[in-house]
């Protein structure tokens, strides 16, 4: 059976109530075409397990798609708070668990290795692993190493029902290649019960085999894959297109107010991804092109190039 599907077919795999995790870090690599389609379908009651995919978290929080957020940090680097995310916690609309990056990444890593728990030193002494009314904030066990008196913290492995990643290119076998810093995508993909990939481009498998070092997630881990150009917009893809900072500013402004944000969501989820791109327009997409030397967008000024 072919792993290749359309974006719509891939989103069909996500059911209400599932736990889900998205690849991405700050303003990069986030499968946001997938997220917009999730929101368009109004799939709710999801448990998001996330490290730094601020965009997925904030959009889904703002769309009311989430029942619970398990996370280590969501902020829009350079633009401040993720306001929808903050709002759903401040209003008590969702359950939540706080981790550090390493603690949560270690939970994914443990699941990927088939281990029952991760052993970390992070969270010792801090309030992250505290309790409220006798209930642990995060499931953990303070543990003394059997090889001495060293204290460590044990955290259960985390295996999301669905992990969705976005890559630079992939093939029909589900091999996914990603350039640049790949955040936690390797760990997430190994941890997921079902791994879904969207990629900027499909290429022939021979291309993949010629550059195996770029393959961050091998096809054996990926159950479904779709070609979705600009699938990370408004986040960027290193060496392909930069984050759309104008769009990010607009988003940050809209997210200050629930009504304005609802209007934003309605706009970006009208029609399918092709419609979304058509509304953005060719020039806007071209403006995100990267300089081939640096791999990110440069602005030309009278005196030279400005990042």
């Amino acid at each position: 059976m072919s792993k290749v599907g359309t974006l719509e077919e891939l989103v069909d795999l996500v059911k209400p109530g599932m736990s889900i995790s998205f690849g991405g870090f700050a303003h990069s690599l986030t499968p946001l075409a997938f997220v917009r389609e999730l929101i368009r379908r109004d799939i709710r009651d999801l448990e998001l397990i996330g490290i730094a995919e601020a965009w997925a978290a904030d959009m889904l929080a703002g769309a009311g798609s989430l029942r619970k957020i398990v996370f280590s940090n969501f902020m829009f680097e350079g633009f401040g708070l993720c306001r929808n995310f903050s709002r759903v916690i401040e209003t008590g609309a969702v359950e939540f668990e706080d981790y550090s990056h390493f603690a949560l990444a270690s939970r994914f890593s443990a699941a990927g290795l088939g281990l029952p728990f991760a052993t970390v030193r992070s969270l010792l002494g801090s309030d992250l692993a505290g309790s409220d009314d006798g209930v642990q904030r995060v499931r953990h066990v303070d543990f003394t190493s059997p090889f001495g008196d060293e204290r460590v913290m044990l955290l259960p492995a985390a295996s999301p029902d669905v992990v969705v990643i976005h890559g630079h290119r992939g093939d029909e076998h589900g091999n996914v290649q990603i350039l640049g810093a790949t955040a936690v995508i390797e760990e997430q993909a190994r941890a997921g019960k079902t791994v879904i990939a969207t990629v900027e481009q499909f290429v022939d498998s021979a291309e993949i085999r010629a550059t195996p070092n770029h393959t961050v997630v091998p096809g054996l881990l990926v159950s479904h894959i779709a070609e979705v150009p600009y699938g990370a917009h408004p986040t960027g893809m290193f060496r392909l297109y930069d984050a759309d900072y104008d769009h990010i500013r607009q988003y940050a402004e809209a997210s200050r107010d629930p009504a304005a944000f609802a209007a934003y969501l309605a706009d970006v989820t009208t029609g399918d991804h092709q419609d979304y791109l058509a509304r953005l327009g060719v020039r806007r997409l071209l403006n995100l092109r990267v300089d081939p030397h640096f791999g990110y967008h440069l602005e030309r000024t009278e005196s030279g190039w400005r990042a």
């Binding site: 290119r169 291309e207 550059t211 150009p229 092709q274 058509a278 060719v282 300089d291 190039w305």
Partner: protein, 296 residues
């Protein structure tokens, strides 16, 4: 170093009515189509078009009434057939055609690029071509007393080529050195008194300096550079994008008669403010469909 970056409108504004204008590219490859459309948009007249293997670029300009002379070895729309606007103008006698073979056409650019007054060889002898073209004459070699064909150097008032990248100083690059027809564009570019280069992308100085051996025209050879993404569309652009044969087919159909072509011009050239508007009308989907799956 002063910046040589210009808008397409500014660059094409350098062309005066009656100028000789050389266009790079060949068959359905890398013709400077965004520039050609802007020439039409600015309603230039009486141009003397010069090329070596011409196609939809010449046909568009001739069909729009911009040209008085067409000088090249071939005008056709590749697999589709004869260039219909060009053919109509030729048969109506509204355009003067100065014939070349491919070698003689390249020789005029090579001579122009390298400062030779002419290049003599055995091309075109015995053909009726020299009679059509004042640039071609017979010379008797003082060394062996034999006749040769002399092709006079071309120094077009304006030369326009489409390339892959350039920095703001005007250093122009192609993605690879050894694609077969690069050198023809190099000669065309060098030969111009004024040389306009449209590029897929303006890039940093560092990007150019990373592969200095890919620079086909140093800044001295270039008057201005213009960023025109998909600037060869609907022609192909090497490893960046392939041609849009559907678009070419529609063009070909529209060019079947003058009225149809006038509608084409209204819809695709005069009706659009600039190249950006053209791309927006073509649409993201269509551009993505022809874009090459890039190598990492």
């Amino acid at each position: 170093m002063t910046s040589k970056v210009a808008t397409l409108s500014e660059a094409i504004g350098l062309i005066k009515d009656g100028d000789s204008v050389a266009l790079g590219g060949h068959t359905l490859r890398r013709h400077p189509m965004a520039a050609a459309a802007e020439i039409v948009r600015q309603r230039k007249r009486d141009l003397h078009l010069i090329g070596w293997n011409s196609g939809i670029d010449f046909d568009l300009l001739v069909g729009a009434g911009c040209a008085r002379i067409a000088e090249t070895s071939y005008v056709g729309i590749s697999g589709f057939g004869l260039a219909r606007n060009f053919r109509r103008a030729a048969e109506a006698g509204s355009i003067e055609i100065r014939e070349h073979s491919e070698i003689s056409a390249l020789d005029m650019f090579r001579a122009g690029a390298s400062g030779m007054a002419f290049i003599a060889s055995s091309v075109l002898m015995g053909t009726d071509v020299p009679a059509t073209n004042p640039r071609i004459a017979t010379v008797i070699s003082p060394f062996d007393g034999k006749p040769y064909t002399a092709v006079q150097a071309a120094h077009p008032d304006v030369a326009i080529i489409h390339a892959h990248s350039a920095d703001r100083h005007g250093n122009v690059q192609l993605d690879a050195l050894h694609w077969p027809d690069n050198d023809a564009d190099v000669f065309v570019g060098w030969a111009g008194k004024t040389t306009i280069v449209t590029v897929e992308q303006l890039v940093s100085d560092e990007a150019i300096r990373e592969h200095p051996d890919f620079t086909i025209l140093p800044r001295d050879a270039v008057t201005c550079v213009v960023e025109a993404p998909y600037g060869a569309y609907p022609c192909c652009c090497d490893d960046r994008y392939t041609y849009d044969l559907d678009f070419v087919g529609d063009y070909y159909a529209a060019s079947a008669d003058p009225a149809g072509f006038a509608r084409y011009l209204d819809e695709w050239v005069f009706g659009l403010a600039d190249h950006d508007a053209f791309l927006q009308k073509v649409g993201v989907d269509r551009l993505l469909a022809i874009t090459t799956k890039g190598a990492l």
